[in-house]
Subunit: 158 residues, 2 copies
């Protein structure tokens, strides 16, 4: 089976997570970590709800995956996330030894996996992550854009 069929399937799961963030009025980003065709970690952005700068979707999903398999080394895992990871999360991909990253929308302003930098493939670091960007890009981007549009309208109303 074409790997890309799986990629779409798991990206839909990441989108489900993003919608959970949306329902909590968080920036809607969602993530799943997959190993051997099984979701072993899930996460959605909770920075505001938890008042914690580290509660990005990716870090939550990585932490839950590591707990699930009882190892901090996530070899053989693919991380699916609706938005291109930031610098912090890109570093976390490297340090958790994730094999592969699949993301939805590009984040041209702060994305560190191709946009302003490509951190997980830097030759100086001791682990490289294979990257595929732009899967279900239109839907992932719409979810983000809709959130900020509503936020601007609400702020205008105040």
């Amino acid at each position: 089976m074409d790997k890309k069929i799986d990629d779409f399937y798991y990206m839909r799961e990441a989108i489900k997570e993003a919608m959970k963030a949306r329902n909590k009025e968080e920036i809607p980003v969602g993530c799943v970590v997959v190993k051997e065709n099984k979701i072993i970690g899930r996460g959605h952005n909770l920075v505001e709800s938890k008042n914690n700068p580290l509660k990005h979707a990716e870090l939550i999903a990585i932490e839950s995956a590591a707990k699930k398999i009882n190892s901090w080394r996530l070899h053989g895992c693919t991380l699916y996330v609706t938005l291109e990871p930031c610098a912090m999360c890109s570093g976390a991909l490297v340090y958790s030894r994730i094999d592969r990253l699949v993301f939805g929308a590009y984040d041209y302003k702060r994305g560190y996996c191709g946009s302003i930098e490509n951190l997980p493939t830097r030759k100086e670091l001791n682990h490289k992550v294979e990257i595929l960007g732009g899967i279900m890009e239109e839907e992932c981007l719409l979810i983000i854009q809709d959130f900020f549009k509503k936020l601007r309208m609400r702020n205008k109303g105040n």
Copy 2:
């Protein structure tokens, strides 16, 4: 009072944290977060003990500081750490809006605050961190070097 006197004082506190990691046979890195001359967050490396790739000293200290002041924005805070932060932790400094970073030893192989990259001062990101590196460098470096020396000797013995 010269700010540098405070810097030495708080770096000694970070070293105390590094020694806690050393006693747990973790890579000995320690960190404190300071706001208005008060330590509001502490952390030492716990990646192996917790089997969690995110348990770097800096992330633990940032998380505890955010909890302490009940805000994910750590404006007005200085983070002291015995080793130059990695990519993930450098990103966390930016996203938690830390004002200032003081670190001990340079990490020429993977340091992201001056060595292979200087992430927290990148013009594209929406927050800049003031950086001072090399405070108590000799001691901080010795603690790390001693750890790896013992590790190599032990592995040789096996």
